[in-house]
């Protein structure tokens, strides 16, 4: 048997229902779903209003840390070579 890969983990029926997952969206935000909290630097929690959130990584959102779609207006581009699955 080979060592457990992340894929095995996803298919593991004993894995908790809500284990967090981060999806790296090309030219866009990070989608985060599952069980997690977003902590403020001062130790508090940042309010979260939905189960799956999009975190801004272009820096231009008006509602940071969340994405508001502004990345599309500023032509935000990510590099496929560092973000593709291996």
């Amino acid at each position: 048997m080979s060592a457990a890969s992340p894929l095995d983990e996803q298919n593991d029926r004993h894995a908790p229902l809500s284990s967090p997952e981060i999806v790296v969206c090309p030219n866009g935000p990070l989608l985060v779903r599952g069980d997690f909290t977003i902590a403020a630097a001062n130790g508090g929690k940042i309010p979260r209003r939905r189960r799956t959130v999009a975190l801004c990584r272009c820096g231009a959102s008006g509602i940071k840390p969340y994405c508001d779609g502004t990345h599309k207006l500023i032509g935000f581009r990510t590099k496929p070579d560092t973000e593709n699955a291996v």
Binding site: G28, R50, G62, I63, Y66, D68
Partner: protein
């Protein structure tokens, strides 16, 4: 909702029929179908045909909340379904004729999303949201909300029809989006409920269909398009493309709508719906593009054209409808068939 006032020969016969019990009306429904053939529907006109769009809207409404005073058995009456299909055939032809599909052939789900993001970014129709943000009057904002109420008070419902027609990644994606549209299990956070709240703050009636009698054919056509895509399994590609385009053209416009209401002095209660969509649809557009449309393309690549069709048709009708509303306002007129009583 109540059965609205007829706008012509066909909706007139239909509404008369709906007030009777369906068991006795086999001949009535089939003569309705014949009437449609006579009426020789024209696909150049159907998007603005008051009589047919209103009738189609009510035929679909039998599958949603129903029509007060119409027996519920009318929903699957073969004559009415036949009539609906005749209108749908012409309506679909009109929509297909109104769009140009992109020719690029994507390789994978991410390139489907890229293509859809490209389509929606290239859309350069008149901007209702910029107008509302900068210059709309309270009366114009109320009219805008009335037009939107035809869909928004049952927001998400037409796309929900697609859930059992999808599988795997696309199905999980649609359910994830819809759960958020329906408030994540909290009734008061359902997007339709947030919209109703906005209407109440603006002094408008928030019961479903309260304004059907005053909105023009084009406004009804936008919702009819979604119902047609959602209720016909063969058009599942189109309903998926429609949702993707809808989500992809939402965050920024909704930010501007919220700003417009704030400019006019409205409270957070009025802007909640719009503010919610700035954040929600930045999430939904990613899921809709990559997992829903992209996922559907992976399992059923032959549906690509319909995915594009649904997306471009959504943009095209939005452009037409906005142009019509703004033209009325520019001429100093109401964009509704009957102006609203003024708010005091």
């Amino acid at each position: 909702m109540r059965i609205p006032s007829a706008r012509g020969r066909f909706s007139g016969s239909l509404f008369e029929l709906l007030r009777r019990p369906p068991e006795e009306e086999t001949t009535g429904t089939f003569s309705l179908v014949e009437q449609l053939v006579d009426q020789a529907m024209d696909h150049h006109e159907i998007l603005v045909d008051e009589d047919l769009q209103l009738a189609l809207f009510c035929l679909y409404e039998l599958h949603y909340g129903g029509l007060e005073g119409a027996n519920e058995r009318w929903e699957w009456n073969p004559g009415l379904i036949a009539a609906r299909q005749k209108i749908e055939a012409v309506f679909e032809e009109a929509l297909r004729g109104a769009v140009v599909l992109p020719s690029d052939r994507p390789e994978n789900s991410d390139s489907v999303a890229e293509a859809l993001f490209g389509l929606t970014a290239a859309d350069n129709g008149p901007s209702m949201s910029r107008y509302v943000a900068k210059s709309a009057t309270v009366e114009q904002v109320r009219e805008f909300v009335v037009h939107r109420s035809i869909y928004q008070l049952k927001e998400a419902d037409p796309h929900t029809w697609a859930i059992p027609r999808l599988t795997g990644r696309a199905k999980a994606a649609l359910v994830e989006i819809q759960a958020d549209e329906y408030g994540g299990g909290r009734q008061e956070r359902m997007h339709s409920a947030l919209f109703a709240r906005t209407m109440r703050v603006l002094g408008l009636h928030d019961s479903y269909g309260a304004y059907v009698d005053v909105v023009p054919a084009l406004t009804l056509a936008s919702t009819n398009m979604m119902s047609m895509f959602g209720l016909n399994r063969r058009l599942r590609g189109a309903i998926v493309g429609h949702l993707a385009a809808y989500e992809m053209t939402s965050s920024q416009p909704n930010r501007l709508y919220g700003n417009g209401l704030r400019r006019l002095g409205f409270s957070q209660d009025a802007t909640w719906y719009f503010d919610e969509h700035v954040e929600a649809d930045a999430v939904h557009e990613q899921i809709a593009g990559r997992d829903l449309a992209g996922g559907l393309f992976e399992t059923e690549p032959h549906l690509l054209e319909d995915i594009y069709f649904g997306a471009t048709a959504a943009l095209a009708l939005e452009t037409m409808s906005t142009a019509r509303i703004m033209a009325a306002w520019e001429a100093g007129k109401s964009s509704l068939l009957v102006p609203l009583p003024s708010s005091s």
